[in-house]
Amino acid sequence: MPSARAWREYPRRYRYEAAVCKKCGKWFFPARLICDACKSTEFETKAMRRTGTILTHTVIRVPAPAFADQAPIAMAVVAMDDGPRLTAQVVDYQAAQLAIGQKVKLEFRKISDEGAAGVINYGYKVVPV
């Protein structure tokens, strides 16, 4: 991944910054240029609270190449308490905690390592609370 491509997403991946529509109040993560609910183009930047709930999950046993050294990896769709949803790896969990309805929080972690010629990607993973 070119370093500019990684760098421009730091506010989202490191600080969980979302865009909140100034007209209707809908939260977007990542930020957008137009609100799909009310078509407003005015947004305020706010950091999401780190807490959310697992909506669905899986354990990937045949990973993408960049994740080979982490496999098997648990993944979940998480509804954040502020409204946005995201897909994240679930880590530091007991088997029974990989479940629909489980409360989780975002943590800053290393995501993937592109080797000598690339960048080390950081971002969020979720852990049960």
Binding site: E9, T56, A64, P65, A66, L86, T87, N121, G123
Partner: protein, 385 residues
């Protein structure tokens, strides 16, 4: 708008075709369709192809195929909508003929997937998801559909046995299709005993990596009659819709709104309802996809797709035969070709040319082709003229 007919179809056996190049795959199927139609020229062509840049390092696919088909200088347009590239290409050809811009249009779909290894193919396919917000975090395509399956099981009680029943049924159909990549029969136990890819999906819940191409020839229905074509088939409905690119943005993780939307547009255009459809080719990239799509198309109630597969409702000879070709699962899934291959199957069924897997007396059929996790879906309804 003019009525549009399919007057020629072409498709070679799908598989791991090391001896055939990307361009030869396409041209082989296109020549067969041209011969089947009995025409000596085409006015325009569309090529459905998802990711030739990543699979074989080739873009600029339209002119490449027109050149090697010996048809340059006709206009040639490459269409991309991930795994729905073929179906969307068919719709573009349909629109061009219906509008009166062209009379004879060739629509082909092609993908050459086995020139790269498994890791590179996984990477190429993952580009159909949201690269920055899904794939970046480690999710794969089987992983995304696995999360749909988890949600569907939780909400409706769908079981692994029901998922496996879809795979067993499609291989049973594929065993009667000489063009299928994996024509062997498998049992529910075979699926459940196979390697887990992403819980709860086993490897035999997943469609394979495939090389292949398919093509059809479209023309105005009036011209089809004048040319005296054998059993021309009319496209009476075409629907296309989109949805959020990321699966996690869907309000209901057990629904595929683009599928129901594209279907309702096609139903309305054709004046048909789900009860009128006698067979349907659906996008079973994973077994859970077939279950959810049969629900969205209105063939079964929401949440009953798994039970319907288990009870044989969707089998050949069942009330609503789904994927008589073997589907993506057994026939193979060369992504850009799939949507066109579905049209080839339904056309042959409506002509009564499907041999051992013929749906007797079929006059109305349907195709549903989907991109990504359902961010795009295209539906066509066809009827014997």
């Amino acid at each position: 708008m003019r009525d549009v007919a399919i007057i020629g179809v072409g498709m070679k056996k799908f598989g791991e075709l090391w001896e055939q190049s990307f361009r030869d795959l396409f041209v082989g199927a296109a020549l067969e369709a041209i011969k089947d139609a009995g025409v000596d020229h085409i006015d325009s062509m569309y090529v459905g192809c998802m990711s030739s840049g990543l699979f074989v390092g080739q873009e600029h696919v339209g002119p490449l195929m027109a050149d090697y088909l010996g048809m340059a200088p006709v206009p040639a347009t490459r269409v991309e909508s991930a795994c729905a590239s073929g179906g969307v290409a068919v719709r573009q050809g349909f629109i061009e003929v219906a509008s009166g811009m062209s009379d004879l249009v060739l629509v082909g779909g092609v993908e050459k997937m086995t020139d790269v290894g498994g890791d590179e193919a996984t990477y190429a396919l993952a580009t159909a998801s949201d690269q920055e917000w899904e794939a970046f975090n480690g999710v794969t395509f089987p992983g995304l559909y696995a999360m749909m399956a988890t949600a569907h099981m939780h909400k409706y009680g769908t079981t692994c046995e029901q998922l496996a029943a879809v795979a067993a049924k499609n291989h049973e159909n594929g065993s009667r299709n000489p063009l299928a990549q994996f024509p062997m029969k498998i049992t529910i136990a075979d699926v459940l005993d196979s390697v887990m890819v992403a819980d709860p999906l086993h490897i035999l819940d997943c469609s394979p990596i495939t090389d292949g191409a398919a093509a059809i020839i479209l023309c105005p229905a009036d011209l089809a009659k004048k040319l005296g074509k054998k059993a021309p088939v009319k496209i009476i409905g075409s629907g296309h819709a989109t949805d959020t690119i990321a699966f996690h943005q869907r309000a209901d993780l057990t629904a595929l709104p683009a599928v129901s939307k594209s279907a309702s547009i096609a139903y309305k255009m054709s004046g048909k309802t789900p009860k009128d459809i006698q067979l349907c080719e659906v996008h079973d990239c994973f077994t859970i996809a077939e279950i959810m799509v049969t629900e969205e198309l209105g063939f079964v109630e929401k949440g009953k797709g798994g039970a319907a597969a288990e009870a044989g409702v969707t089998a050949l000879g069942g009330k609503m035969p789904i994927n008589t070709s073997g589907g993506l699962k057994s026939k193979g899934h060369p992504v850009g070709a799939t949507g066109v291959a579905q049209m080839v199957e339904v056309t042959r069924q409506l002509r009564g040319e499907s041999g051992e897997r013929q749906v007797k007396g079929a006059r109305v059929g349907m195709t549903q082709n989907m991109g990504g996790t359902g961010a795009s879906s295209v539906v066509h309804i066809m009827e014997v003229m």
